[in-house]
Amino acid sequence: MKLRDFLIGFLFMLLYEIKRTVKSSIFSYLWFFVLVFIATYALFAETYVLSGNTEEPLMTLEYGSEAMRMIIIFSYTFIVSSSEAVLTGEVTDIAFPPEIGVMFFIIVPMILGLIMMGRFIMKKASVSIAKEKEKKTLFITVSSPQTRPSIYLGKFIAVFIISLPMIIYFYIITNWAFNSIFPLEANLSGVVFKTAIATVMLITSIGMLVSVLWNTEEKATKFGGKIVTLMVALTSLWIFIPVIELILNLTNNSTFFLLVLEKITYLSPFTIDLIAATNPGLLAGVFNVQLIAAIIFLVIGIVIFIRQDLEY
């Protein structure tokens, strides 16, 4: 058997994996498409103007999500600056500066989309080997001339490929939102596209590692689900750190506590994505960090898979 035959065999295996995985993904795609659309469309309900309600900030916050910081500061400033008019019976129209609109986008459709993709990918990746071990169907590929690393990579690539429709849709939606409602030159669609790719690769490699460690579909799915939940919890915490800071500023000064809390939340790839979205200059670094982490998890998974005895 020549290398060419091996590669053709690999492609066939990949197509077979993709076909099997896509079959069970139709409803996940639909949910993703609908919810991300609704979350983005909700942003169209507000007005975004370049000169809208921009006042000097009356307070400063230093830790956690920049998006949440900006929203809190803007809301606080708006409430304070419009309170006089409200007391005289006038209702002040709120017009957001487009930067605040972008922060709304980052906090709602972007984080929602990334979490949905993360959950979907983790589920697919975490069962890819565990389910086959449980159902004893691995012998089909494992007893063929394909090597264990090529089988592992085939499954990894298959899971990554089935996430592409979501990533592309997410990119189109972002492009649409930025071109339609935010009167800014900056368009986050490229950043969103790259962060989504990096996150999907990282979560796929973590999911594959989970899959190779567990022997049943149920256990692998549960464990994978817990990992995503932890990631979401950490990112939620990061988003709300400015709120915690606001509360703590009223009572005592806990800089160290906030600093440690913020560092812990960096363990979640969603946090890293949001940081890159608010500071596109950090994108290259963020992308590389996630890529290196994905490769490390991938290599660990392959080594474990090579060393495993398979019943079938």
Partner: protein, 301 residues
């Protein structure tokens, strides 16, 4: 063709294989016989590179087992109970296996599916298949790349009579090197050139089938009497002739060392009792296993 030396495999505290030695000559069919958990499937899984041995040397066609990729090109493996994704079809699976071996000729897939009697159901999902049909799919997948070595883990269990006959015909006519296991020892009679009897992962006997038959008695005769009360008298008379006599139910079994003894023994039996039916029986591998298993136990004791 297949050489195994001092093979050891442990699963935690269980010693699945203990210093196993095995030689299978090129183009022969070798049977692995043993009770449940004797290590038969483990040997096949190690040869198919699904498992790694703890120690020992395994060589197939002069290629060490560590070169898994090269070994898997030579080998076709049929698991004991094949499981498939329920939504796949036989054609998909055989085509996939062929592709994984670098075969893109659809006529080969068509031929092998037809040979295993699956052409009418080849495009139906596996979830509709019977156990026998699933087994045939696994056999088709193992044969599609025309391997030099076939590793068959109880391939006949669950097969329908037509498929069983066709598989036996295939195995007896092929020039491949075959290692086959089966719990039903009768299934291997007439197929194997040599056998290895395993017990607790160790070899009890490893020999050519013909020489094992000689050691035990080549041919057996089953006699049924009109009057069961005559059994004792019959045994008494037959034992005078120094043949091996056993009683099973209402039948008397006589084992011979040579076919030439048969006419004389039948005459002796006919004089001793009224014989209702006399049936010539081949000694099965079941009996071979029983004899050598007892011998081994006695040796250990």
């Amino acid at each position: 063709m297949i050489a195994i030396k001092n093979l050891n495999k442990r699963f935690g505290k269980i010693h699945a294989l203990r210093n196993l030695n095995l030689d299978v000559k090129k183009g022969t069919v070798h049977g692995l016989i043993g009770p449940e958990a004797s290590g038969k499937s483990t040997v096949l899984r190690i040869l198919a590179t699904l498992m790694k041995p703890d120690s020992g040397e395994v060589i197939i066609n002069d290629i060490p087992i560590k070169k898994g990729w090269e070994i898997r090109k030579l080998v076709g493996y049929v698991p004991k109970t094949p499981h498939f994704p329920p939504d796949s079809t036989a054609r998909e699976l055989v085509t996939l296996t062929a592709s994984l071996h670098g075969i893109r000729d659809e006529s080969i897939v068509y031929h092998i599916i037809k040979q295993r009697g699956l052409e009418s159901v080849a495009d139906q999902t596996i979830s509709r298949y019977s156990v026998s049909m699933k087994k045939n799919v696994a056999i088709a997948m193992a044969l599609v790349h025309n391997p030099l070595v076939l590793l068959l883990d109880e391939p006949m269990t669950g097969l329908d009579p037509v498929s069983l006959k066709s598989l036996k015909k295939l195995l007896s006519s092929t020039n491949k090197t075959i290692l086959i296991t089966d719990k039903d020892f009768n299934n291997l009679e007439g197929i194997c050139d040599s056998v290895t009897v395993l017990r607790n992962g160790s070899t009890v006997i490893n020999d050519e089938l013909t020489s094992i038959r000689k050691k035990i008695g080549k041919i057996a005769l089953e006699l049924k009497l009109y009057d069961v009360k005559q059994i004792q008298k019959l045994i008494f008379e037959l034992e005078k002739e120094s043949v091996n006599v056993t009683v099973g139910g209402e039948s008397v079994f006589i084992k011979f060392n040579s076919e030439s003894e048969i006419p004389h023994i039948i005459r002796v039996a006919a004089n001793a009792a009224d014989i209702k039916e006399a049936k010539s029986m081949k000694i099965t591998i079941d009996e071979i296993f029983g004899t050598f298993h007892e011998e081994a136990i006695n040796e250990v004791a």
